[in-house]
Symmetry: C2
Subunit: 247 residues, 2 copies
């Protein structure tokens, strides 16, 4: 029988990329603050991620969670990311443990490490010849409070893995765009994630075996400065796209 | 003229250790939730760390902040550490930047990395022959939600340094006890911090020049598994105590 997967923040762009390719692969329970405006697979739960009762109920019978819900704005104010992203992530992890869920894939962000892009490294960092790589073992270095909130979600995942035996993978998502990579934007091309690579990556997060991991969620771009080594080795991620092969 | 230093959580044990040796070294402004029960140097502000208006006012004319306030219980529930420790730290950093403060020393904790003490490493980890060392470059690995909150405070500090040019040092405080190290408690002896080493360490946090640092706050214990290298090199920390030299 197909695994039951809870997808929070299902109506966002990452959720759309995932459902576009994986609608028939799992028994989906979708959760979002707003009711759907189009036909979607599985059940739909309308609830805010800060509603811990609703989140608890949504975990019933679930094998794995893909947690995308939260304030997605890099410029989001502190109060919002504290509530929606940090407190929201704790609500999800705690409810997952209590419900006996096996795995949580947490949507972290390139913004958790955005301040590694120092004036000394940029723009070389974004170019194919440059060999500098972040690999997920480095300390967080956020360039905004949104990034701070994503780093906190990663640390919460570490705790829930170590102390409660939950399998947790944090995916530092790059620049997800549909169809083609960002144009005239070197940074966006360096961290491009195509829709189909995104779906495949989260598919691997559901199927693979792991304890606690931080991986980068990008396509295999010539310009990349994020290593794909852990995603390949632990998850079996095999990206098919590369921003250099598009006009 | 002596520097003006704001000490939050002044009535706690770390605050007492600091004031015991450094009362005459600085112009102190002490902040705590409860009014003092004994005579203390400088001004005293009675305010909760979550009261952002009061915290802003307390920053006026301050050169450096030692931020100790927060829920100090390793077993503290999530709601308390979210509010008092994570939101509290953001309030302090933000107010410090707005007031033009130069430096913030943030009281982090050994609990930010407590889950490195795995069953495979313990108890050897606590013994002099063992060479395993944490040095502050490792990712957080908290054994409780209190530790998660301290790791979040460190990441906030990284952000306020990178984006707002605040000097921030995070001190992962070990086991602070007065007079002598913990008895019959190997872990406590490994991470012992004497009162006088504590005061000296925070004195160095006020006087030294640095950008962003994570250091361990322990005495020079034979049993240690935390490196003192960064504290020595960057801050000029010269601990005088060692739990092995006490009965």
């Amino acid at each position: 029988m197909a695994q039951s997967v809870l997808l929070t923040g299902a109506a966002g762009r990452v959720g759309q990329a995932i459902l576009a390719d994986l609608a028939d692969e799992y028994e989906w329970r979708l959760l979002d603050r707003d009711p759907p405006t189009e036909e979607l697979p599985g059940e739909f739960v309308v609830a805010d991620i800060t509603d811990s009762e609703a989140v608890r109920e949504a975990m019933d019978g679930i094998d794995a969670v893909i947690h995308l819900a939260g304030d997605p704005r890099p410029e989001a104010p502190w109060d919002s990311v504290l509530t929606n992203n940090i407190d929201g992530a704790q609500t999800v992890y705690e409810a997952a443990v209590d419900a006996g869920v096996e795995k949580v894939a947490f949507a972290s962000s390139n913004h958790a490490v955005g301040a590694y892009e120092t004036p000394e490294r940029v723009p070389d960092l974004y170019r194919p010849h440059d060999q500098y790589r972040l690999d997920g073992s480095e300390l967080p270095r956020p360039g905004n409070l949104y990034g701070v909130s994503k780093a906190a979600g990663e640390t919460l995942g570490r705790y829930y893995h170590d102390e409660h035996d939950l399998s947790v993978v944090c995916v530092r998502i790059g620049n997800l765009t549909k169809g083609h990579p960002p144009i005239d934007y070197e940074r966006g091309q360096a961290m491009w994630l195509s829709y189909r690579d995104c779906a495949h990556l989260f598919d691997r997060c559901i199927r693979a075996d792991y304890g606690y991991e931080i991986v980068y969620g990008i396509s295999d771009n010539d310009r990349k400065y994020y290593s794909l080594e852990r995603a390949r080795a632990v998850l079996g991620y095999e990206p098919r796209d590369n921003s250099a092969h598009h006009d």
